[in-house]
């Protein structure tokens, strides 16, 4: 008797999200990115469809990141004090399809930059690069509420992805994303119940579920990755079953988490037995990324070009596009 593989059938499709808008769609982007639309667990294409590859968003900060280890700074050393040049380098030299602009300069603990300053940076980047954008606030609720609405305005028509909305701070961002037709990142602190709750709060304001991206909070390799993985997996299983409030694409902040790990950032002189810092950091980031891809991440925010290249290749292989290569 021939062996028949058991195939799991799911009833629901993960929403498809487009980031970016071309001139034909009312924006100025040269390209757009699509994620989601999956009808099975990640990469199990024999069970369902996975119409779009997961994408990597390269991190760009609006200020010199104070705590990045030298290995993470090195690829951007010549542009790190200019967000626009940094963004251009990501696109031109590292072939980024998507950028994640982190507005860290607005945080009261850093430069406390104004809404005007931040929105001007965003505007400049939009005019200098053609790829779609994710715009991520500082995490300071009050300041984000002051700055992000200006940014959604400046980027009106560009169909960006803005974050983050949390259970205790979502109304301002939801309203401005709704007004300026941007998509939104819903953040929850590694908690499936809150993950669902934030989505319902956002949708109660009339925001379409298909324009929400789930940010379940990311754990780095060795620092809670398993927990993040299990939350993501549980959410995705529900999303594929019948829970529309969990059927959104997922974003993970791989770069920030991986490069916080001691194993990624510590100098070679301190632990010579751990091997070369130039390999160790990127590997830590890449391994974190791959685990999260398997857990169901559609958008990975990443930092180092080396790890990005590696993960891109792995995505290609998992999607069956480069089978046998490498």
């Amino acid at each position: 008797m021939p062996l028949e593989l058991y195939k799991q059938k799911w009833t629901q499709k993960i929403y498809t999200l487009t980031i970016g808008a071309t001139p034909a769609e009312g924006g100025t982007r040269e390209s757009v990115v699509q994620v989601g639309g999956i009808t099975a667990l990640p990469f199990l294409t024999f069970e369902g469809e996975m119409p779009y590859s997961p994408v990597i968003a390269m991190e760009v900060w609006d200020m010199v990141p104070p705590e990045w280890p030298p290995e993470a700074v090195a690829p951007f050393a010549d542009v790190i004090d200019s967000p626009v040049k940094w963004a251009k380098k990501c696109v031109q030299e590292y072939q980024a399809q998507l950028l994640c602009l982190r507005l860290m300069s607005i945080h009261p603990d850093t430069k406390n930059a104004s809404a005007e300053e931040a929105s001007q940076i965003l505007k400049a980047i939009l005019s200098e690069v053609g790829v779609p954008l994710i715009v991520w606030g500082s995490g300071n609720a009050e300041k984000d509420n002051e700055v992000l609405p200006r940014c959604t305005q400046v980027a009106a028509g560009e169909n960006c992805l803005f974050g983050t909305a949390t259970k205790d701070n979502y109304k301002t961002l939801v309203a401005s994303c709704l007004a300026d037709k941007q998509s939104i990142i819903a953040e929850s602190p590694l908690d499936i119940n809150i993950e669902k709750q934030v989505n319902i709060l956002i949708s109660e304001m009339g925001f379409p579920l298909e324009r929400i991206v789930i940010f379940p909070t990311t754990g780095g390799l060795g620092y809670g990755l398993e927990y993040a993985y299990s939350i993501m997996e549980r959410g995705r299983l529900a999303g594929l079953s019948e829970d529309k409030l969990l059927a959104m694409p997922v974003i993970c902040t791989v770069g920030p988490e991986a490069w916080r790990a001691k194993e990624a950032k510590v100098e070679e002189s301190e632990f010579p037995q751990w091997g070369k810092a130039s390999e160790r950091g990127p590997m830590w980031e890449a391994i974190t990324a791959v685990a999260l891809l398997i857990a169901g991440a559609e958008i990975l925010v990443m930092r180092h070009p080396k790890s990005i290249n590696l993960v891109k290749r792995i995505i290609g292989q998992l999607m069956g596009k480069e089978a046998g290569k490498e």
Binding site: I192, I194, K196, Q197, I200, E242, D243
Partner: protein
């Protein structure tokens, strides 16, 4: 939990009258109300008084499908009435119901197979309704065997252990709970289970409370579906809460709203 809305039944005076006078508006309103309140399937029963039940069934099915897009559960003792309804169904329907009596199964199971319909099997036979869970399981086995024999896939079979009014026979509510559990062990894949829920509270003053209490108990035993009043908000709230407590859906603070948004 699959909710089968019970209110389009000629037994209710309002519905009976609407059928007699072919008052579409009343029926369509009931259909919309029940679906909006969370019914996944609508039960359709022409009632005992209908002079021409076949024509009434056709009229009901057509009228309902003009306003809602859910499967229908065709409720009649006459096989030609059921088949007339099935013929008009846009989605695969449910036959309500056969019993374990051979002559009923011989007629209704082939109809289910022909239309790809599901079928409710009441666990009673020539001798009536068994006293205990074991007797119900015996009839359940014969219904499952007959379904397989007639080409009705087991996932299309809903076994109904027949709940009786608690003020008439209190022991039955216990035996039915056991039966719901036991039915699941009778085949692989297991059959589905269904209850005509409102029967449990027939003739009692606290109908809604008894209905929702019993529904939750039955769900804990593995009940898959109930013919019930989806417009009873407290009943639906209890059901949604039970799904959370049984880990069938993911909790969030607004889980009641979340359920109603699906």
């Amino acid at each position: 939990m699959i909710v089968i809305g019970e209110r389009i039944n000629g037994m209710y005076r309002k519905v009976g009258k609407a059928i007699q006078k072919r008052n579409k508006e009343v029926i369509q309103q009931l259909a919309r109300e029940q679906v909006e309140a969370g019914a996944h399937i609508l039960d359709v029963n022409t009632g005992p008084a209908s002079a021409n039940p076949l024509a009434a069934m056709e009229w009901l099915v057509t009228s309902i499908q003009e306003v809602v897009n859910v499967p229908l559960c065709l409720d009649s003792t006459k096989s030609d009435v059921i088949e007339a309804g099935l013929r008009l169904c846009k989605q695969k329907g449910v036959i309500n119901s056969t019993t374990g009596q051979k002559e009923k199964m011989d007629v209704l199971l082939p109809i289910a197979a022909k239309y790809g319909a599901s079928i409710i099997g009441l666990t009673m036979d020539e001798k009536g309704i068994p006293r205990d869970a074991l007797g119900r399981s015996e009839i359940a086995v014969s219904i499952i065997a007959a379904a397989m024999d007639k080409g009705v896939p087991i996932e299309n079979v809903y076994l109904d252990p027949l709940i009786l009014p608690v003020n008439v026979t209190q022991i039955t509510s216990v035996e039915v709970l056991k039966a719901i559990h036991d039915f699941k062990t009778l085949s692989d894949p297991p059959p589905k289970t269904v209850l005509g829920l409102s029967n449990v509270s027939q003739g009692t003053p606290n109908r809604s409370l008894i209905n929702r209490t019993y529904l939750v108990m039955a769900m804990a035993m593995g009940l898959d579906a109930a013919i019930m009043d989806s417009t009873d908000r407290e009943l639906m709230d209890a059901m949604i809460s039970a799904e959370i407590l049984l880990n069938k859906s993911i909790y969030c603070d607004s889980y009641l709203d979340a359920y109603r948004r699906r």
